[in-house]
């Protein structure tokens, strides 16, 4: 199955490990994620003022690229656009909803982009987790050759996968999609009441202390519930929950660092894929000691 794929900027740099692991995992599942042949930054946040259209130009431009992918035969009559980053997902999806609901806005945006072909409003933005769910967690289970026996993982959703309701990939208050995935990988799912609490998002450039306080709450609640690792799907959440552990440690000396994974990294490990796909060099808290202790890496480096 070939599907158009939108990586987003950070997946090409600081979150390359998210992309590398996801592409490898997708291949294993028989999904070919075809990167849009030309794409631009989506803007990362959906513009919330009613009169502002210019900030929707960026996401809509990317949706036009999906039409082009179909025209050029790079995908076959498949107007889905798969994203990995939660923020890209949210921004693209909400912009798509807005222009579908407001044809006048779409017309203005199309007129403004007169050098592009018109966006016809027929693209469907989806998150990779939704694609996995469609394939079925049974299929995931079948592919697991390196089960996470006994590893305790707390899923973290943050905001952009769940809210607002019209874009959420799951119930905004009781999401289970990551739980099902982690369970399918053979790990123990730890429920963390803070899994839907915001990590502070872009506040990280305004006041990193505010963000590290939130991150501290989220991580320690997970730890108190028994978690040994966190799973998530957003490079900004990852930065705030992983890299900001530096600031947390400076403030709370008794804090013990906890590895933070992209869910696709966990899948790559579970599927027993080559360790080159894990990309732990980009994780701030090195997960290798934990994985070694659980005998999950360093055994077979085949396939």
């Amino acid at each position: 199955m070939k599907v158009s794929y939108y990586p987003g900027c950070t997946l090409k740099t600081k979150a390359r490990n998210f992309e590398t692991s996801a592409l490898a995992v997708a291949e294993k599942l028989g999904i070919e994620l075809i990167e849009l042949s030309r794409w631009n930054c989506c803007g990362t946040v959906f513009s919330l003022t009613d009169d502002d259209l210019i900030h929707h130009v960026a996401p809509i431009r990317n949706l036009i690229r999906v039409q082009e992918m179909n025209k050029n035969g790079l995908v076959e009559n498949d107007h889905r656009l798969v994203t990995l980053c939660s923020m890209c997902y949210n921004t693209l999806k909400r912009a798509n909803i807005r222009v579908k609901e407001k044809p006048d806005d779409l017309k203005k945006i199309n007129d403004f982009m007169y050098l592009e072909e018109d966006y016809k409003g027929n693209v469907e933005v989806i998150h990779f987790l939704e694609l996995i769910k469609d394939i079925g967690f049974e299929k995931i289970k079948e592919n697991v050759t390196n089960p996470f026996k006994g590893l305790k993982i707390a899923p973290y959703y943050g905001c952009m996968l769940l809210r607002p309701k019209e874009v959420g990939i799951d119930d905004p208050e009781e999401p289970v999609i990551q739980e099902e995935l982690i369970f399918a990988l053979g790990a123990e799912v730890i429920d963390n009441p803070y899994k839907k609490v915001c990590c502070g998002s872009y506040q990280t450039i305004r006041d990193k202390q505010v963000v590290s306080n939130l991150a501290y709450d989220i991580l320690t609640h997970a730890q108190n519930a028994g978690a040994e690792a966190i799973s998530l799907s957003c490079p900004l959440c990852a930065f705030n929950l992983d890299s900001r552990q530096k600031e947390i440690k400076e403030k709370h000396s008794d804090f013990t660092r906890i590895p933070v994974f992209y869910f696709t990294q966990l899948m790559a490990i579970g599927f027993g894929l080559n360790e080159d796909y894990y990309g732990f060099d980009l994780n701030y808290v090195n997960p290798e000691p934990l994985l070694k202790e659980k005998n999950l890496i360093g055994r077979n480096n085949a396939k």
Binding site: A15, Y202, Q203
Partner: protein, 134 residues
């Protein structure tokens, strides 16, 4: 006993402006406080989200001096929980935009330390500058 509030023209203008920018009927808020109870940032704020809503309802432009609107992380927790179906994140954005659209930046990224500039992923810079610069 029903007490009727009468807003001054100036206050009506401010309320109208925020309603227009946000697309929300702010007068529908009945101050239940669920937003404040749900907000992950509330402990850092000087006024709570429901107080912010109240001030806008009354057209009090002093709300522009509060820290609250800048602390909103657009997490949409209040949005999904508001029993009146209001989207407070849009109200906060409208308030921020009133200032940003006058070309007043709320942050100066040039003041971030070298170390921060090395660490920050693009996603943080892009989202932050969208929300805090005009």
């Amino acid at each position: 006993m029903i007490k009727k509030l009468k807003l001054s023209d100036k206050n009506v203008d401010f309320l109208k402006k925020i309603e227009e920018l946000s697309g929300e009927v702010i007068t529908r808020c009945d101050q239940c406080g669920i937003c404040s109870a749900s907000c992950p940032m509330v402990s850092e704020m000087d006024i709570t989200p429901s107080q912010l809503m109240r001030m806008v309802q009354l057209g009090e432009s002093e709300v522009m001096e509060s820290k609250a609107m800048w602390l909103c992380a657009s997490c949409f927790t209040c949005t999904v929980r508001c029993p009146r179906g209001l989207d407070l994140s849009k109200v906060a954005e409208a308030l921020r935009q009133v200032e940003l659209r006058q070309a007043i930046d709320h942050i100066d990224v040039k003041k971030l330390s070298k170390d921060e500039m090395k660490r920050l992923p693009q996603i943080a810079l892009i989202s932050g500058m969208r929300k805090f610069t005009g």
